[in-house]
Symmetry: C2
Subunit: 192 residues, 2 copies
Amino acid sequence: MAKVRKRAMRAGNMLNPTPVVMVSCGNTVGDYNIITVAWTGTTNSDPPGCFVSIRPERLSHEIIKNTGCFVINLVDRNLAACADWCGVVSGRKYNKFLETGLTPIRASKVNAPMIEESPVNIECKVTQVIPLGTHDMFLAEVMAVHANESLFSKKTDALELQYAKLVCYSHGHYYALGEKIGKFGFSVEKNR
Amino acid sequence: MAKVRKRAMRAGNMLNPTPVVMVSCGNTVGDYNIITVAWTGTTNSDPPGCFVSIRPERLSHEIIKNTGCFVINLVDRNLAACADWCGVVSGRKYNKFLETGLTPIRASKVNAPMIEESPVNIECKVTQVIPLGTHDMFLAEVMAVHANESLFSKKTDALELQYAKLVCYSHGHYYALGEKIGKFGFSVEKNR
């Protein structure tokens, strides 16, 4: 009684949309690097956990393996081209902070730079490295978060993340977030 | 020389936007369940890998622990309210397929139902369970993917995932994908 015609495809990565973030790392200014990843996500609520998966041949893999930490920098519309570029080229060829003009600032808890121009910076400490094939998965605990003051409501002082104009990634394309469909729990709200 | 005022926040889950997907599981029709998760993502390109993190007290945790598999069903605008509801209520109280009217169909490679109404179904086999605190992380390998025939271009026969009108999740809200900003690699394209 199938109503919808489905096509079987080969097994592949079809989980969409995904986040797209700039991961910054490095011990000293000369070593600082940025890699853009979509293979990232939240793994745990408490303690707050997340991961990034990185190919062993990438420079950032070597750096994060050594320092045991990194910063996840969220990407807004203004940063989309920089993020794309940092995902396409290698830190072995380019100093990505210099080439993009992005500003490294000191993190508070981990040994890695944060990107000042990113609206939200998430400091992460690696807890486990899991080899999965093409990529190694760096499981991490969130140690600190920083957000631009301009993202907080003047009325309520609450974080209004929609002000940040974040970008997501889906099937090879970057998208702005569009229409707000509802709040978590909207399906059971009384005055829906 | 800080140009941007930043506010230090407590460590928390601020990685946004995230995917939001309906995870279906269960061995027999009577056991079928659906849980909506945002703590999910792609972990590896080859072999294709992904994960879902689920609290041990959730019914789906017990089911997936037993069957060792699940299906990730992508969520489009039409499914947003169903997805929200399946994330809010418990499978211990409701038969979620019956209550939502969603249709379970047989997966090809794993012992779990797929949701017919979802535009893309991803069959997953658990490879590792990692306890992280509030959540256990189910690492999985993608065994098969199914997509609605209507998502393929009539001209090129390529998958045009933007036809699916997928939804993402950010800081407690569901969003439609908005304006397309660029394709992967757009920052280095010659005719930009």
